[in-house]
């Protein structure tokens, strides 16, 4: 399992911060890759938020300037309908980010809740929940999403649901492991001895301590979610035209015009790769920081 669990409460695990500036400098020096990743992730978010400003043309406006090579007028060239690739990439970041974050959060929260309950309650509930998670996790994400899309029809919502269904079991597993570890702590036992209700214990004591691994999980899965959306769009499901989706841009136009206009294949793929690369690096760095066992070596 790639995700480690904590064996100390979160607030003991974070390094001391003598002011934000020093902490940042420390972060960058200790984790150059992580800093790079954070930068990429920030760029992605900036692109998504400021798409209107960054884009040079209307992303769905077709024109007669068909398959123009990258140059001063169209920074990354145009596609077979004369649409500016750069603008479509910039607006596409919104879709990728939206689907990525929505599906990751949805899956992580849903799965996390299941893991929390399952880990805390133990016994039969745990056994059943675990088998359920196993079942959901056993199917390859693409297969599951394909079937769902076939059954429910391709759309933005269904894409998000399909991807989150695959993330949920992983979240459940991570949270459950944390819960299992923490449940045995003395302070939880003493709280129970003092008569505190289960729900209160779960929310007040156990949950905050699963936060660390949870955050790591979310950043780790975000990249996967973005990739899943790209693959689904590539296969023709997911976000419908004409709104730009990076995966979709790769499939149709690229397959037809790959030889004549390779920029149509290169840049959307690079966009996906950098977005995922950035979030993965960031996730790695966060995990390295929050997991004490790998620090200080």
């Amino acid at each position: 399992m790639a995700i480690r669990t904590l064996d100390v409460p979160l607030h003991d695990a974070l390094p001391e911060a003598h002011g934000w500036g020093r902490a940042l400098g420390l972060f960058i020096r200790k984790n150059p890759l992580g800093a790079a990743g954070a930068l990429l992730a920030i760029l992605l978010i900036v692109a998504a938020i400021f798409a209107d400003v960054l884009a040079t043309h209307n992303p769905i406006r077709t024109s007669s300037r068909v398959l123009v090579a990258p140059g001063s007028e169209f920074w990354l060239g145009t596609d077979n309908l004369g649409r500016d690739l750069w603008s479509r990439l910039v607006y596409g970041s919104r879709i990728s980010l939206l689907v990525g974050i929505a599906s990751t959060l949805l899956g992580a929260v849903a799965g996390g809740l299941v893991g929390l309950v399952s880990g805390y309650m133990g016994g039969k509930t745990d056994l059943v929940a675990q088998r359920l998670m196993d079942i959901m996790q056993a199917l390859p994400i693409l297969v599951l999403a394909l079937v769902m899309a076939a059954a429910l029809g391709p759309s933005l919502t269904n894409t998000i649901i399909a991807i989150s269904v695959v993330i949920a079991p992983r979240a459940a597993r991570v949270v459950r492991a944390s819960v299992l570890a923490i449940r045995e702590f003395v302070y939880v036992e003493s709280a129970r001895a003092l008569g505190a209700r289960h729900a209160r214990i779960a929310l007040r004591h156990v949950l905050p301590n699963t936060f660390g691994p949870f955050v790591v999980l979310v950043t780790a899965q975000l990249g996967g979610a973005i990739l899943a959306e790209a693959a689904l769009s590539f296969l023709g499901l997911g976000i419908p035209e004409p709104y730009p989706s990076w995966g979709r841009m790769l499939s149709i136009a690229a397959a037809e015009y790959a030889r004549k206009a390779p920029w149509l294949v290169i840049y959307p793929g690079l966009a996906i790769s950098f977005a995922v690369f950035g979030t993965n690096l960031l996730g790695d760095a966060l995990r390295d920081t929050l997991d004490p066992r790998l620090r200080g070596n």
């Binding site: 769905i60 406006r61 077709t62 024109s63 007669s64 068909v66 398959l67 077979n80 309908l81 004369g82 391709p154 023709g236 419908p240 035209e241 004409p242 149709i252 136009a253 397959a255 037809e256 015009y257 790959a258 030889r259 004549k260």
Partner: protein, 535 residues
């Protein structure tokens, strides 16, 4: 010879050389042998042309079959005048054009050795026309209405077939000459045609891997002596366009190009200039379906606005990359036989100045109650294939320029036709290819009230009446006048706005000879018995 002849004496010889036709190879002596490898438009859902509606089947099943009559592969423009005998040696119109008698060849055998007789013809066309006493029922019958006018079919002796028509119909011969109208064997169960083929044609089926490969081998007992030239034909399904291009450039494919657009064809040739590129019309058009029965699209102004918003010249440049012809309901001239004159076409909605037409569209929308405060919202439905989606994306943009907020809905191939037949859409981008360049086929299928493929729900009794009239008109000039009149009215009504007629492309090696390409259809030319390889 002790010294060279003077140049002047060589002149006639040189002139003769220059005057010899350069292509297509009809004048040279064909060589026998070789297996031609090509890729089809897509995998064939079955090898039964009567039960399918995609050119992929016509392409991949035609080498196996024969028709009663066929279009001459050597003549580029198909028409009633280029129809030549195949299984029928000759035919005769009788009884004031109401009876068509075919005299069949005596020397034809099916691929399994059994003799071909008139019983096979009766079997086939009784089934296709849905005769009550037909020996077999087609699972699905897309062209049943082609044969509506047949009263009865008789086979008085093994080599004579009589088609009795209700009314005269000059189009019956073109219909029988289509790649979709071969003759089936009466002694083979219909279900076998899904994956196998027993025909009388120049090639016998060697192997069929559904979804991957269809391979034919020469029929040594073909009734046309000396044909086919090839030892075999192989259709290899290649899904990826770049692979198709690379395959023909590297010689793994001898012929490619079906389904290509102009960009790909030019690109392929640019990478290897010795390749031969052919571009002609195809009798397939991009058209817009507006659901006549669904409000607010039953409002004529809205339909007209949508039609005006679509700038045809931009369509030519963008989605078609310059490879299309403008026209009305029938394939425009000169490739087509029945199209409207170019001067009239230039005045159709969408052909004029885009700024003016878009302004007019906005005005019409305003009259109908839609404007910036209350934009018309609709979904453009289309098939989930590249050529459909590209044009539909372009459409969405054009509509947005007149204030219509449109989104795209992609519908998978499997459910496209049923959805369209049941009119479960608002606006759709459609491609229509009719098997033959003939008004009976084109008009009855797509514009008659209640026809299964009349996807827009358009219905006009007057037009129906005119359609019937032109079908029974035997004088070609009178018929053309009627057809043009119908076309005019269809365009005025906006029955099915035509964006343009796309072109077909082929890219092949120069050693491929006799690869026939017709300029007004892609469906009726795939027998391939005259193809040979000059290597």
């Amino acid at each position: 010879m002790t010294r060279p002849r003077s140049l002047r004496s060589l002149l006639p010889f040189a002139a003769a050389l220059l005057l010899l036709p350069a292509a297509p190879g009809w004048a040279q002596t064909p060589k026998y042998g070789g297996v031609l490898v090509t890729h089809p438009l897509s995998a064939a859902p079955s090898l039964s042309p009567h039960e399918e509606s995609t050119v992929a089947v016509a392409q991949q099943a035609s080498p196996c079959f024969n028709n009663l009559v066929y279009y001459d592969p050597a003549k580029k423009q198909e028409s009633v005048d280029t129809i030549i005998p195949e299984l029928a040696e000759r035919w005769s119109w009788q009884d004031s054009q109401r009876t068509l008698v075919f005299f069949l060849r005596h020397d034809v055998k099916w691929h399994d050795g059994k003799p071909f007789t008139s019983a096979d013809v009766k079997y086939t066309f009784d089934a296709v026309r849905g005769a009550p006493d037909a020996k077999v029922k087609l699972k699905v019958n897309p062209r049943k209405l082609w044969y509506e006018n047949i009263e009865g079919i008789e086979a008085p002796d093994p080599y004579t077939v009589v088609f009795r028509l209700k009314k005269p119909q000059p189009a019956i011969l073109p219909m029988l000459a289509s790649g979709y109208s071969p003759v089936y064997p009466a002694h083979v169960p219909l279900a076998e045609f899904k994956n196998k083929c027993i025909g009388t044609g120049p090639f016998k089926l060697k192997e069929n891997k559904p979804g991957e490969l269809v391979e034919y081998v020469k029929n040594p007992d073909y009734f046309v002596k000396g044909r086919p030239y090839l030892d075999g034909i192989k259709f290899v399904v290649i899904r990826d366009r770049s692979t198709q291009i690379a395959a023909v450039q590297s010689g793994q494919l001898d012929v490619a190009g079906t389904g290509w657009n102009r960009t790909n064809a030019e690109d392929a040739k640019k990478g290897l200039p010795k390749l031969v590129m052919v571009e002609t019309d195809s009798n397939v058009n991009d058209n817009v379906l507006i659901n006549f029965k669904k409000p607010p699209f039953n409002d004529r102004r809205i339909r007209q606005a949508i039609n005006l918003a679509l700038d045809r010249k931009a369509y030519l440049v963008g989605p078609r990359q310059g490879a299309a012809t403008f026209g009305g309901a029938l394939l425009p001239r000169p490739s087509g036989v029945w199209g409207l004159p170019p001067a009239e076409i230039a005045k159709l909605p969408g052909m004029g100045d885009p700024a003016k037409q878009k302004a007019e569209a906005k005005k019409l929308l305003a009259e109908a109650g839609y404007g910036p405060g209350n934009p018309l919202r609709l979904t453009v439905s289309t098939r989930a294939l590249a050529i459909y989606v590209d044009t539909a994306s372009w459409m969405v943009d054009q509509l947005s320029q007149v204030g219509i907020e449109a989104t795209l809905e992609q519908i998978e191939t499997g459910v496209w036709h049923p959805k369209m037949t049941r009119l479960e859409y608002s606006v759709a981008l459609n491609l229509t290819g009719v098997g033959i360049d003939d008004p009976d086929a084109q008009l009855f299928e797509n514009y008659r009230c209640g026809s299964q493929r009349n996807f827009s729900g358009y219905c006009s009794e007057e037009i129906d009446r005119l359609m019937l009239e032109q079908s029974q008109t035997t004088d070609p000039k009178k018929r053309l006048a009627l057809v043009n009149e119908i076309d005019r009215r269809l365009q005025a009504d906006g029955a099915r706005p035509i964006l343009g007629w796309g072109k077909q492309h082929w890219v092949m090696w120069p050693y491929v000879k006799g690869w026939a390409v017709h300029e007004n259809s892609i469906y009726n030319v795939s027998r391939r018995q005259d193809v040979w390889l000059d290597k």
